[in-house]
Symmetry: C2
Subunit: 460 residues, 2 copies
């Protein structure tokens, strides 16, 4: 708990318009996109690195936990203040400090909204590829903390592939830098890559230097429909092995398709059991060449329907289907458990089949969609808590899914991080020694476990 | 020192044909591509993970330092046993365990020679892009330990971009895994990226899972000559900003050119002051399109001569010039200090000018060449120790070069690592806190400082 004296000290140090303890603030910053809720004692809105330093120094002196927070749209509770204390909200540190067209880089504060950065760099003919589904609200700081993915990872990689350098603070308020604003740097240990994806548990990131690339000039998308789930699942590896270098390879199973078609009021063919959406981008001739190759590949495969979207209008329409899955699914059942498992792409068909069997066996609605080109299967358990035993059956099925993923050399999280909700499954993927190494790393940055405590592992 | 008893214990445990303490062995494994020499007490050649475990357990029990070693061709002393003890040579663990064409990955032992892996995967239509200049002798294990670069990094990234997973041992012989054989994985802290580039100081890597990509079908190279160093240096950023996505952007200054032309017996134009070599690869139409764009760009620039190499014979001839720089330079002067600084690409012209001024001021032969597209300037001080004061003047100039690099936000090492030789310059790039964080990381893996001691920093 934070008493009046500490509250006053924080307000006096950084300014009272940046520090709040009113109920509505504590409530607003108590949750994210999970169903969890833990209230902080204090909400602070730093506006500068000096503010961050001052807040951390006070918090550290009084041994108060600090949880950094971007837009709070995470799926695993990463930004929820599990142990109370201070939530440090970065929405006011939302300046793009530089877009350097000479050196192809951007320098931003953590609170910059991802889409805003993309729009600004695209105005200058440059491209920041990472595009998590949340990009309209999520922040670069949050993306870095979770090492966010998105739709274009197959070709362009994840957030971490674009982070060149970070400015950050240790929990005690000491500032340090990690990485350099150049594309090759092997001096010292790779602090930067360790911070990326560390879910705000090692340091508070205050400034981010990102690599930009030239904006692709041309884009074409395809929808390929299948009359069987397996044919669709097998098509993924078939397509990516053909050297078409897609920028996106997305998959939708029957339940995602039917939910989204209903949501958008589109007619639905009974035979349609799976859809794959593929995007190619690059220079015009290059896209043309790969498009021809892809058309050939599709002709040799047993598909139900094949459609190319060339104009931006056609492409918008096509991608609208994919983008509306999440809102459409919420209509299926009131509760959603949203997982982001990854398996080697050759294991996708077997994994899809296994999860379908589990859905039948445990009488559950499980929809599968997502970035199958990356092996990344968004596994959504759509639940009705009023149905007897449903939550318990879901828990058993989920546990089996994670065990399966690890058994086929996959990972329990490709995008969302571990946060709070995935902690119970860490033991399937990591040995005791590996978990102990994680603890040692945490301790070397935050020996008193004050920074975003209770995430990834229990470090006490 | 290792006494007879320990020697016998190691031989008895892993087999006497794998353990040597003869003088010729101790000498052979006492040096690398630097001028340094430190002899081990024992040289072991593990042939399996079991051997590694057994050696480490014995060494740990007796508190004997262990230094892992690949081909020993490093430029900073990374594989030299500075504190004696055991050198663990990986040349016998050189099996390619799998080339998985379904999931686009390779699993290898650390001792696999880089070029051998490349040849094997190319037979299957796949591509392992990292190509350090040493690829004919250097090993994947060494490449991973140093996070090796090469000529194709601008487009394809460095070794670390292809490492999906590692099997490794702690100094006490405990085994762990880092990463997963999938392209997206955010579960737990990023142990894998921490191990890549850690120069064998954190763990002994026993197995490496690498990402492969489809083999580019077509390739074209260009040589662009300039009548001034500055024009050549300025051309780099001009070219890479034009969206031609080159796979290689190499630079040679006058002294590299004249050394290599002399070495190859080629006639040399007096006006020729700098050469840029550019390679484009990809699908045929794509390369054609970018080639046309590049030709346009070159026409708008003040060049001395421009040549396209399309056939593989023409390309071989062109790249031969670049590849022969290192052997050619050794003819200039007996001693070489070979640095691998990196600066933001827009800072290349100023950096080149600064180093040239230093060369004049301190009466030194300094040749500049390398991967300028990455901002990576191979800075070679070609020295004659018999010239009075030359070594001292070189030391002063080198110190100034490193200070300059850090002042323009570059890094003191883009490829070679810190090892022993760059330790004195770490303080320019890193604050005391950053160096302390490095120490804490080292301690969390190797608290007794037994694994490759004396590298990167002094951890005692």
């Amino acid at each position: 708990m934070i008493d009046k004296k500490i509250f006053d000290e924080v307000r006096k140090t950084i300014g009272k318009q940046k520090v709040f303890s009113e109920k509505e603030y504590l409530l607003t910053y108590s949750y994210d996109a999970t169903a969890l809720e833990f209230q902080p004692d204090l909400v602070v809105f730093p506006e500068s690195e000096e503010d961050i330093e001052n807040i951390l120094k006070i918090a550290y002196r009084h041994k108060i936990p600090v949880t950094p927070r971007g837009a709070g749209v995470g799926y695993t509770g990463g930004s929820i203040p599990l142990k109370g204390g201070i939530v440090m909200v970065f929405t006011r540190m939302n300046r793009i400090l530089a877009i350097d067209t000479e050196n192809f880089l951007a320098v931003v504060e953590p609170g910059v909204v991802t889409q805003h950065l993309q729009e600004e760099v695209e105005k200058k003919g440059l491209f920041y590829p990472p595009d998590p589904a949340s990009l309209k609200t999520s922040t670069i700081g949050g993306n870095v903390a979770e090492n966010a993915g998105g739709l274009r990872c197959y070709k362009y990689g994840v957030t971490g592939n674009y982070v060149l350098a970070l400015d950050a603070f240790l929990i005690n308020g000491e500032k340090f830098k990690a990485g350099s604003p150049v594309i090759k740097d092997v001096a010292g240990y790779n602090l930067k890559s360790l911070l990326v994806g560390s879910e705000g548990t090692l340091a508070v990131i205050s400034k981010i230097t990102l690599r930009l690339i030239p904006l692709p000039q041309h884009r074409v998308s395809f929808r390929v429909d299948f009359n069987s789930l397996q044919k669709g699942a097998e098509f993924i590896n078939y397509a990516i092995r053909s050297n078409i270098n897609p920028s996106a390879v997305e998959f939708m199973d029957r339940s995602s398709i039917s939910a989204v078609y209903q949501y958008l009021g589109l007619p639905l063919d009974d035979q349609l059991k799976a859809t794959v959406i593929i995007e190619l981008d690059g220079n015009r001739m290059d896209v043309e060449e790969r498009k021809n190759k892809f058309v050939q590949i599709v002709q040799d495969y047993d598909t139900l329907c094949f459609q190319a979207a060339e104009t931006s209008e056609e492409q918008e329409k096509l991608w609208d289907i994919r983008r509306n899955i999440s809102p459409a699914l919420t209509k299926l059942n009131p509760e959603k458990i949203n997982e982001d498992i990854v398996v080697p792409t050759a294991k996708i068909p077997a994994t899809v089949e296994y999860i379908n069997q589990l859905a039948q066996e445990y009488d559950l609605v499980i929809t599968l969609f997502g970035h199958f080109g990356d092996g990344n299967i968004h596994t959504n358990l759509m639940l009705n808590p009023e149905k007897q035993g449903e939550m318990e059956r879901a828990e058993i099925a989920l546990d089996k899914i994670f065990r399966h993923v690890v058994a086929v050399n996959g990972t329990i999280s490709g995008e969302h991080g571990i946060g709070i909700t995935k902690k119970p499954f860490m033991k399937y993927q990591f040995s005791e020694l590996e978990m102990d190494l994680f603890k040692r790393l945490k301790q070397s940055f935050d020996p008193e476990n004050l920074l975003n405590p209770g995430k990834i592992l229990n470090f006490e």
